[in-house]
Every structure is written in structure tokens, then in C-alpha cells.
Symmetry: C2
Subunit: 452 residues, 2 copies
């Protein structure tokens, strides 16, 4: 009996060893296929150069919808469809910001109105600029000092965090709340220092939000060096600024998220992999989030190309309207809930197509620990960090429904230099870095499909 | 007695905890200082834009020597000096490569002569091109098929390796040996496909070597897409090529490595941190190895700025002539040996200023394991991989003398897109990535200085 037990244990350990070895071989096959034959980089070039930026509601976004559907068919999806989504429409229009000080000369500053903000309606709005360096400083300012003025929130991006997402998160409240805070004390409009890790004059747009029952005054961003120059000027001179802008919300529109899948061979429960198809209306939306879109399509293509027998349905979702409404993610979650379709897992790539370093896991400890136990398989691919406990915005409605969710966690050092700017262009993406992200997602989905 | 033992153990574990905590605080202080106040990025801009590429023996290299000495003084070195090194001088001069096929039209190809190779002496050398895809294929070619021809070694960079250094190492023999192999079978000159991870037409230079007693025929590199086009052409047509080049060795010259140090407070044993000051004669030598130079100077500046009391001497060495002779590294090793100066440790940064991912350790297992035991301190900074067992070329003479050596191991995905090319320019370097490399080296040297 003792002998039999020993033999069983031996067989078990051999089996486990054999299993790990088989997985390791499959990881290598996936990696080689994508690094050598991956189409994501060429597809991203096509998306960014032939369609370019694609804010929800724009004609370019509608082109991107057709583009994504075709790419999913090309990749071998068994089924491709468009999911109806009603999206808000925001348009920028012409805009300019000028300042003048003692010299009397006007200087035009590089700037971008913040997304979802209202402009000046094409009229000049002028006033004196006053600066605060922090929220605390603003809170202490009496309303009479703000009334009739332009508020310049000059809070610098905190460079001390190793993960730049923490610096971004730390500064984000300035972008989101500056306008309403300024309006509540009677200011004319708000200028913020961009949420940027770079020391350049590139302004970063991004979503802001108006509080209910507060005047919708304009809010614009300027680049880091422009902010530094304005700060210097304000030390010795009275500065007047004039904003003329035409941006604003233009109602709603019917649009679509794009979905493609390969049907599960064992059951129809769903594994989602996705990114968002929309971008801001500047640059080319290359890192944010063209990268996530082409990586997700690469996952599907690789399963199909290698003939991996997926137990569960593997579904690529190219979400609409992440940037200024999250309507695509919300609608996907609603449809999933209403149809009672079982979702096993969802992962998003929306942190850029940089070298993958980890996978953030937003799920219970049992599942988290199971994925962490696979770490030795991932480490040869540079993917070592499974400590993050968050997931992508578009899949947050799934997460709220109890679906285990995750996000690809690439190296974050370069992202916030170009995020939401004219500089988020194809040349900022490296082929191998982009494809390695797709490798890590395919490997993870292979493991989850097989073990869950 | 039992009680006493327990208390001692408790005290010991508390002490260890306190120690680890103290180190962790110091790691954070170092990181904050460099990320917020580091000068390496601005210094690299100055080096690359105001001096540019700086091959050993060129006037630009001599300017870089003065530049580095001044930067070390600015950083607070107690002592700065130039170490005499006799270096080989290689010059490129004008060069062109043209091909023609059935159409009769000549097409000029982007190309670079390989470093240390001899040119055609300004004369046209023409012949038919024949292609091999691998060394094995070349070995099988009878000499009569090579005689009088131009050999095109079209071996592609292996994209399957996750660490691109492995792909580079795999292909390097083509660059190093193509000329002599071709000469031995009577060929006129060799063309190689560049050692490049990119799919573009950028040619990569780099050192080649002539075998003794073999004709010194020319060898040139072409970019990946140019190589692909030539391969396609050769499938259906006879291709003639003409090379006209003027490169060659021009004797030797007296030059210098640049050294700066802060003296040890406890003893004078030496910890070396360095990179190489020379570069190839194209681009700006930004990632290779301007990055390593400014990171090394940043280490010294940070010790000085933070007032860290270094037990041992911390010495920055900016080595001469790594690219085409290694004379700086060899001379440094010789002087260290002759003077019997005790070297405790040496680390080089010569793999680009990308996000650090690990530190390669070339030393005995006791020391290696001690450094590995510090991994938990490094992981919050993204530095997790201590498995590499190699170190920089310039410190290989120290390694041969038994000094424990290491190399900063940054993310390798982008390096071989631009290595040894016109494209190795300042804009390819990211400020935070560069500085994080300096952070990791400073942290490691802090630990070694304190514990060895």
C-alpha cells in the first residue's frame, strides 16, 4: 500500500512536471509566432496613419469601426458584429490662448481645451491670471480674489513615483475639477498645467467634468515648460490672458463598439480581451489605445493561426468612447448582464504598447493566487509583476458584476510624456514592445481558457 | 538560557528589520533625488547635440574627453584625471554602393562600411553579387563560385529571443568574419545584412576583424529592407554591384580615458562605475553609450549631493575606444594591476539608457547570492532580474583579474533597432528611463560600499 501511494505521488508529480513543461512549450510557440509573424505593428501603422485620431462621434471613429470589423474578420474571427452604443459628441473647433504682461506684446501659448469642456463660444474672454500651486492653496483663496479672474492651477506632475500612473492619478483631480472649482468662486476660466511627465511645451487634453448646478466655464491645459514660463512671469508682472474657443458638447449620436470572437469548443462562456477604439482628437491615438486594439486582435489571430483549441469563447471587444464617456464599456456590461451571458474573465490593454512587465489582477484571492502561481512561466518573457490590483476602465462594469478582470501592465516610463497629445503617434511605438504585450495576453488567456 | 537565546534572536531579527528598513529609506532617497534633480538627461543632450558622434581618434572624441572631465568636476569629484591610452585610428571617408540588374539602371543603396575594415582606396570595385542565407550555406560554396564575386551574407536577426542581445550575439559572427571568409575563397568584397531588430533600411556599422594572413577586402552593411529587396531581385536577375570607399586604419594615436572619483572615507579600495565615452562615427552615440557615461556621472553626483559617507573610493571611468579596440578598458586593467590597487567591484552601463530590469552579475556564487538577497529592495524600482552572468566589455580585464563585475541590464527591446546607426540620437532616450538606470546603479553601489 505504501508502495502504491508512493507510485501515485510520483506519477502525480511527473504529471505536474509534464503539464508545466507543456505550458512552457506552448508559451514559447505563442511568443515565436507573434514576434515573427505578428501583424499588430503593421495594423497599428494602418490605423494611425490612414485613419489617425478618432474621437467618438467623429467621422474618423466611424471609419475605425469598419476598419476594426475587417481586421477581426481577417484575423479569423468566427463571428464579428457591431454593438450599438449611444455616445456623447464633443467637438473642439478653433481655439487660442494669448497672454500679455508689462511689455504689452501678446504671446500665443500652445494649449488644448480639456475634453468635454465648453469654450467661449468664439468670443474673446480676457482677465488677469492668478496662480495656485496646489488644491490646498486654492481652497484658502477667498472668493473675492478669484472673482473675475483666470485661475492657473500649476500643480507639477510628481516625478518621484516609479510607476508613472501614480503621478498621473495624483494630478488628475486638477484636470477633472479645475473648471467647477474656479466657477464656484466666480472665476472666468481655468488653466491647468498638463498632466505630463515630460519637460516640454506639449499640452495634454483629457476628460474634465462639470459639477451639477455650477457654471460651465472653460478649462484649458498648457505644457510643462509653458507653465514654468508663466509662473516665472507671474513672479514679477501682472499677466492678462485672452481665451477664444469653440469647443462644447454637441448632443448624442448612435455609434458602435466592435466585437469579434472565436467560439468556445467546450462551452460558450466568454473570455474578453480588449482595448478602446476611440482616442482623443489630437495625435494619432497610437499608444492610447491603438496599441491595445491591435494587441487584442493579435490574441485572436494567434489562437486561430496556431489552431489552439479554445474551450471557451474568446472575444475581442474594441470599446467605443472610453475617453470621454465610457459608454462602450457601460453598454457592453449592460448587454452582458441583460443576456445573462457567463463571463469567465476579462482583460484590457489600455496602458500603452510598451514592454510588458506584469499583469494587474482585480479578482478574489483564490483566482489571483492561481494566476500568480503561473509566474514562473511568464518570467522568461519579462512579465514578473502580478501585484497590481486594478483593471481597465472599459471592463469595470464587468468587474462590478463579479467577473475576474485584469489589465496588461507595461513599462510606464514613457506613457505620460505623450498621453492625450499631438505626440501620441505611431513612431512612439516599438514593434517588439507592442508584440510582447500581445504575447503576454495570449499566454495568460491560454492558461485561463485551459484551467478555468 | 533558553530565554536569553530567544531574546537575542529577537534582537537580531529586529536589527535586521531595522537595517532593511534603513536601506529601503536610502533607496527611496536616492531615487527621489535622481528622478527630481538628476542632470544626466540634460548632460546627455549637451554631449550628443554639441559634440555628437565621437569615434576614438576623432577631434570630437578629444572634445568629449574635456567635456567628461569638466562634468566630473561639476558633479563634485574629489579628483579628476586623464588616463593615457594609445588607440587605433579608423576613418570612414566617402563611400557608396550601387547595384544594377536587368534594367541596366544603377541604384544607390544606403550602406555603411564596417568599422576597422579597409575600403577600395577610392576606386570602383565591381562584380556580380551572390547571396547566402547562413554560414552553413557559405561553407558549402566551392571557392570557384566565390572567386571574383561579391558575397552577400543575408542572415536575418533572430526575432524569437526575448532578450535581443541574444539575437545580436547570434548574428555577430557575420559582421566580424564575413570579409575574411569571403577573401579566403577569392571574393572581391562582402555585404552583410545589418545586425538589426528593426525592419527598415538603416544600415548598422560595428567592428569587424581580419584574420591574419588573409587579404583585407572591404565589408559593408545594408539595412533590413534593402537586404530583403536585394534578395528578391537576386531570385530572378543577375545583380552587379559597385563599391567605392575610402575607409581604413590610419595608425595609432595618443588619447585618454577620463576618470573621476570621490575618495573612500574608510579605505582606498575602489568601486568602479563606468561606460564608454567613444561611439561609432554615425548618429550621436546617445544610447551607445552616452547614456552609460551620464548615468555613471550621476552616481557620483548623487553620493556627493546626498552626503552619503562612502567607505570605499567610488570611481567613475569613462573608457576610451570600446567600439573599435577596447584599448581604454585594457589600459585601465593594466594600470590597476601594475599599481596593485585593490578593486572591490566594477559595474558598467553599456546596454542603453532604457528602463532598468536587472543587474547581470559576473562573480562567485557567494557574492552573487549576497546581491540577490537584496532583490526585495530593488523590486519596487522595477529591477527584478539578477540572473544574467556577464558584465561590460570595458571591465572584462578587471573581471579577468578576479574583481567581481556587473552590468546594468535595461529593457533590450529597442536597442538593436538603432545600435551603431545614424538613428542613435538623443530623441531615442527617455528622461525617466535613463535616470532610473542611474538610480539602480547608485542603489547597488550604496549597498556594496556599505557591506563589502
Amino acid at each position: 500500500m505504501k508502495k502504491i501511494v508512493s507510485t501515485s505521488l510520483l506519477l502525480l508529480s511527473m504529471t505536474l512536471f509534464g503539464q508545466a513543461k507543456e505550458d512552457s512549450i506552448q508559451f514559447n510557440t505563442i511568443s515565436k509566432e507573434i514576434l515573427n509573424n505578428g501583424k499588430g505593428y503593421v495594423e497599428l501603422k494602418d490605423l494611425t496613419k490612414n485613419i489617425g485620431h478618432r474621437l467618438s462621434g467623429s467621422p474618423a471613429y466611424e471609419k475605425a469601426v469598419q476598419w476594426a470589423a475587417q481586421r477581426l474578420r481577417d484575423a479569423g474571427a468566427d463571428k464579428v458584429w457591431l454593438q450599438d452604443v449611444t455616445i456623447p459628441v464633443w467637438e473642439r473647433g478653433k481655439e487660442s490662448l494669448k497672454i500679455t504682461a508689462n511689455s504689452g506684446r501678446w504671446k500665443t501659448l500652445k494649449m488644448l481645451s480639456l475634453g468635454n469642456s465648453e469654450g467661449t463660444g468664439g468670443k474673446d474672454v480676457s482677465a488677469e491670471v492668478i496662480m495656485v500651486k496646489s488644491m490646498e492653496e486654492y481652497d484658502k483663496l477667498p472668493a473675492e480674489k478669484v472673482k473675475g479672474k483666470i485661475l492657473f492651477f500649476n500643480y507639477p506632475f510628481n516625478q518621484s513615483f516609479i510607476e508613472t500612473f501614480r503621478g498621473y492619478g495624483d494630478a488628475a483631480k486638477y484636470r477633472v475639477t479645475a473648471a467647477s472649482l474656479t466657477a464656484k468662486k466666480g472665476g472666468k476660466f481655468a488653466i491647468i498645467r498638463s498632466l505630463s511627465s515630460a519637460f516640454d511645451d506639449t499640452p495634454h487634453t483629457g476628460a474634465m467634468r462639470y459639477e451639477d448646478n455650477v457654471d460651465k466655464i472653460p478649462a484649458v491645459a498648457i505644457g510643462s515648460t509653458t507653465a514654468d514660463e508663466l509662473e516665472q512671469l507671474l513672479k514679477t508682472q501682472k499677466v492678462l490672458a485672452t481665451l477664444n474657443s469653440n469647443c462644447g458638447m454637441k448632443g448624442e449620436k448612435a455609434s458602435h463598439s466592435v466585437i469579434g470572437e472565436i467560439t468556445g469548443k467546450k462551452d460558450k462562456s466568454v473570455i474578453v480581451v480588449g482595448g478602446h477604439l476611440d482616442s482623443w482628437d489630437v495625435g494619432e491615438g497610437a499608444q492610447d489605445d491603438g496599441a491595445g486594439i491591435v494587441q487584442s486582435i493579435e490574441v485572436l489571430r494567434t489562437f486561430k493561426k496556431l489552431g489552439i483549441q479554445n474551450n471557451h469563447t474568446i472575444r475581442v471587444v474594441c470599446f467605443a468612447n472610453e475617453e470621454n464617456g465610457l459608454k462602450g464599456g457601460l453598454q457592453y456590461g449592460k448587454v452582458a448582464k441583460d443576456s445573462n451571458e457567463k463571463h469567465l474573465f476579462a482583460i484590457e490593454s489600455d496602458a500603452g504598447g510598451f514592454s510588458p512587465r506584469g499583469i494587474a489582477l482585480d479578482m478574489d484571492d483564490t483566482k489571483r493566487n492561481q494566476i500568480k502561481s503561473w509566474a514562473p512561466l511568464f518570467i522568461p518573457y519579462g512579465v514578473y509583476n502580478f501585484e497590481g490590483k486594478y483593471s481597465g476602465a472599459d471592463i469595470s462594469p464587468l468587474q462590478a458584476m463579479g467577473v475576474p478582470t485584469a489589465e496588461l501592465a507595461p513599462d510606464s516610463q514613457r506613457y505620460f510624456d505623450i498621453h492625450h497629445t499631438e505626440e501620441d503617434t505611431f513612431d512612439k511605438v516599438n514593434r517588439r514592445e507592442l508584440l510582447l504585450g500581445a504575447v503576454a495576453m495570449t499566454q495568460l488567456i491560454y492558461m485561463i481558457d485551459k484551467n478555468w
